[in-house]
Subunit: 757 residues, 2 copies
Amino acid sequence: MTPARFEVIGKAVPKRDGAEKVTGRTRYLHDLDVPRMVHGAILRARFPHARIRRIDVARAACLPGVLAVITGQDVEQHPFGFVKDQLALKRDTVRCIRDEVAAVAALDPVTAREALELIEVEYEELPGVFDPERAVEAGAPLVHDGLGSNLTPLRYQFSHGDVDGAFARAAAAVEDTYALSFVTTACLGTMAAIADWDPEDRLTMYSTTQVPFLYQKDLAAALGLSGDRVRVLQPPVGGNFGRGLDLYPIDVIAALLARRVGRPVKIEFDRMEEFVGSPGREACTIRLRTAADRDGRLLARDAHVVIDNGAYVSWGSTTPYVMLSTVAGLYRVPAIRFDTTIAYTNNPYSGSMRGYGNLESTFAVESQMDDLADRLGMDRLEIRRRNASQPGDVTPQGFTITSCAMTECLDAVTAEIRHDAPSLVPGWQRGVGYAGMFHVGGGARIYRSDGCGAIVKVDDFGTVSLITGATEIGQGSETVLAMIVAETLGVPLERVTVVNSDTAVKPWDVGAHASRTTFIAGNAARLAAEKVRADVLRLAAEQLDEPVEHLDVKRGDVFVTSDPRRRLPYDRVVRSGHLRPGGRPLVAEAFYDPPTAMLDKDLHGNVSATYGFAAQAVMLDVDPATGAVKVQRIVSAHDVGRALNPLAAEGQIHGGIHMGLGYALSERLVVEDGHVLTSSFMDYAVFKAEDMPETIVKLIETVDQEGPFGAKGLGESGVIPVSAAVANAVKDAIGVRFTELPITPARIHAALRERRP
Amino acid sequence: MTPARFEVIGKAVPKRDGAEKVTGRTRYLHDLDVPRMVHGAILRARFPHARIRRIDVARAACLPGVLAVITGQDVEQHPFGFVKDQLALKRDTVRCIRDEVAAVAALDPVTAREALELIEVEYEELPGVFDPERAVEAGAPLVHDGLGSNLTPLRYQFSHGDVDGAFARAAAAVEDTYALSFVTTACLGTMAAIADWDPEDRLTMYSTTQVPFLYQKDLAAALGLSGDRVRVLQPPVGGNFGRGLDLYPIDVIAALLARRVGRPVKIEFDRMEEFVGSPGREACTIRLRTAADRDGRLLARDAHVVIDNGAYVSWGSTTPYVMLSTVAGLYRVPAIRFDTTIAYTNNPYSGSMRGYGNLESTFAVESQMDDLADRLGMDRLEIRRRNASQPGDVTPQGFTITSCAMTECLDAVTAEIRHDAPSLVPGWQRGVGYAGMFHVGGGARIYRSDGCGAIVKVDDFGTVSLITGATEIGQGSETVLAMIVAETLGVPLERVTVVNSDTAVKPWDVGAHASRTTFIAGNAARLAAEKVRADVLRLAAEQLDEPVEHLDVKRGDVFVTSDPRRRLPYDRVVRSGHLRPGGRPLVAEAFYDPPTAMLDKDLHGNVSATYGFAAQAVMLDVDPATGAVKVQRIVSAHDVGRALNPLAAEGQIHGGIHMGLGYALSERLVVEDGHVLTSSFMDYAVFKAEDMPETIVKLIETVDQEGPFGAKGLGESGVIPVSAAVANAVKDAIGVRFTELPITPARIHAALRERRP
């Protein structure tokens, strides 16, 4: 199909939930009020590492309005988490400042929080370890006594080609260690959960999860139930960005409290608790070496990643899965060595966060592309072009590149970044930086099924309902999936309703992550809609007395292609097909699981059905006197396969750039000696609207062979290269290579002063 | 299948929503609170017939907290109703005391009602007509000026065989005119609606409707929208009994108010408004003649029904559709004449109500069975046995009787009614009365589709979701549909979840009426579950390496029939089928529309796929001194095809008997000169628990060939024969034939005094 043939696809369609949201009508989980609901609150550890000697809840339990106080000792619970290393309510020992020690249910949230103050906990403080390198040294305090070491069971090792030989014969090699801080998702909607048991001991959870079926399984296991006893409802959330990818204690505790008091229990974090209690992006260091020949062709990369795992393992420590993909796949590199050290510490633990390891590794890899070019005296863009991936490439891990417009992305940002540039304030110094991006674009098989189901039904009035497994977390999936169904069926978009928020209703999906929803859920929706379309044409063929092949359906009408005046509204076709002897309304279902493989034990396998590519250019000005940075412009070019909804695609990229600029220049969750010092948006410097640069997005369409209408995922690609491009621009401006984020004015100022001798 | 083979079917299963309801957890529509919701109230007519001269809303609109006041003049509305003869907010003329003149939206319900008092309406009172016989006389005031007559467009005429000849040669003939009063459904949950427009001008209605898809269509039309712009949610209701079968002004007004104020609007009736504003059972008279030969064989019936239509046509005036079925089908009758006069009056209009015409006609028909027996000197049971329908019969309308245990039902109640009877209080007189019942049992095609859809999905944890078109109105459909799916799939009942309350989610169904849900929705659920069962067996065959034909699934395990130790839990089978290359979870859908026909213009056609039969015997004692009646015992025998859930089947019959006893002996909505005088449960005498007799239910299983597991519908059959059996028992006790209901102590006392002279 050529773009001209599309009626819905490719049009700029505002997000369908946009009007609801901007008019204040959206009923977020926080706004929900279930009958008889009471409120829960969680008491957290006072020390990052301590033995719990005694908990006295008597005074709290006596506070009027308090219905229950529970501790780890008096509820049945089962270990959960990525390696099942934590209980929701801790027993005996607290291992980080986030640790849940007791919980209260009360008639109102104020009373619940007041009761927390009345719980007396006697601790025996233990020595803590707050640095992963230190944690693996002999004699370091053990975070988990029983393990005998602070090494987590996670290790990602990969080797391909002759790395040492490559470095030996390289014309140039660079090496640095890159340090990345903890950051938080800064969702405007904090973490929240409502747990509601029915009289048959079945649990309904209102959750901010973005993996509802995996959550159903994990929550049931943590409570000692079978998965079929948990139903998950997903009201609208105020941001998630990966935060909802794992099960966390808030959900388990809400369920335990609700069971104890026999009433629904809601727990929601306030902003301060969100900084301490919600999982963000992991702190890590990446030691990276890159070698190139005299022409600038990459010969090898060698990386070692050290991750501060915190007290328990969650998805933050699995990010090397993606870091490796970048080290081995961003540009052509024939030889790779990759290893990790992932160590328990007494810091809070991290989860999955948009970009998921790729911001970190791209920061390292793309910093070295510039440094290599400088070392070789090459143009920074030329070294990238020379190494750019091409269709047909297979990465050392076995990722098969099909559609790929890496070179075109580089060209697009180059063409635009310096065009008609704003004038420079006298005394400031300007720099331009570039970075590329490589990410999964057709799902990522991290679970045995990477599939999604879809059901499409059409009623007598032409309402088309898509019941999809997909999860909407603000990314616009409802809109794009409705567009796919409307285009496939040939009906106006406003006739399509999307249903997607109840595990009892919706078919399986592995969740919203890895930029997979448009691709995977989109393909499922398309397949189900194609079945309904075939039914509509078959019915219309009878009604118009024409062969099916002579018919088409567009803008809600079925018509004879050779004589378009002979036409019937599709809803009439459907109604006539129903309201007749032996008739029936139309319902069809489909399931799409991409033709991919999980990584094998050697981290080899084609995990995604296609891959996304992008390039960014950043123009920024630095004030050497103060270290202040003003980002003037960012150009972001993306190989999106096809832009199904250009407005939403641009929106995703704008949002990613916003998050990436914070990561590059201003955001840092300050954790010192295990204590979270950041406590408000006064401390945690998210980029404000007025800080945002001019942003130019270029959508490059390669029309992927496997994607729905040729689309590929792009939910994460906007955020990934930003910090690398910014760091390269800063170096371009002032000649200083920063290997640590965020690049704050204080750091710039200090670096310039140091250089000045 | 023999009953012994069933694991779930035939077991007494408590209603699944029972625990929720008795523990106060059920969230009825009344309990719902939508964000930003405000409250509506309706101003009704002060006179049953009047011209509206002027409405001044200025004072009401100024009351603090009032957001809008609307009248018929200032909103866009479209006629609706069975013959499209009313607007939700009346213009110019009010035609009954229920008529809606204005409506208010306010921040709280008290303010809304207060504002009603501030609306000034100037009326010019018009002469009214309150009796349908009077209404069709020349010179009667016209309810609808423009029509030129008070005759509604509805008329039901049927003729079959030589009626006059039959009466001419009859050995006995009886004739009477039976008078039936208005009664109300007396639902504990009053009528209520919440209307919520989204920013795209799509309407979500939270409704007590029991025909959600027809309601979607009708409401959209009344608002001038296409049906696809209305989504209907059906929260739990506190009773419906047919009240939810049509669209009524409350729904339209809630939508109009909500559109006006730009916020969701809830309207709920208080008890007083419910008596005035909710549709109940129509008042009518039935002139009936029956002829029999000397052996007591029926020769002919001749009926003329006069219905007080009230001011607008709703379903109450369509009840002759069923009255005719009874006149022509309850017992074998070779010749039939049937006609109706359905006249507008200035009374409130009636809707559909459980039993739907059949209580009325059965009261007449069964009174005459006794009177004929008396006239012929025959035994009252013998005359019934001699005329009882038998399998293979075809009624004069063309109803094809398949399974039929009418004779067995008569035998069953006879055997039980006098067994070990309680002693009689001295001075009181005892009577025993009998009545039979004939009703649709396999749907009733009143719309072009009598079908229902079902979707069954199984997740990785063995949760089986049934998404059904069916509507739960307290009758227990969720429970029996879950049982059908559990039995078909061979899984424990508690693994099955039923989803059924959102038109955007559920597949088409014509609604909860005509005792059709177990039969129609049950067959749809069974068909969808059979597809999933086949998939489960196919997957298990691969996993167990056995041919499918060697496998069975029961109690959640798939096993080799010849070696039952070789077994796999079904959820593991499903999970393994999903979590493998090319795998997928299981989803299937089905649609069932019974092999029936709509009545043609001559009222001929086989409207139901099967028919239900029942007989009741009532033993009661009358105190001649006071006219008091004490019902001692009622035995109710029902041909149910198969009792899928005997507990629920008995519950339905108990509930029906309760409603029937009120109709027979105590309930009457008093309407005088167009005014509803009944205003509370002090005036409206529903049978109290302590008034209820010993109730014995006999379920007779004929295993219907078309029903799901052999079942037939029985939702209405308990209520239908009660008033006839009671009247016959009263005649047996004191020798007086009552032709008017309710048979109150005052009426008995008056009749006995009259006879005494």
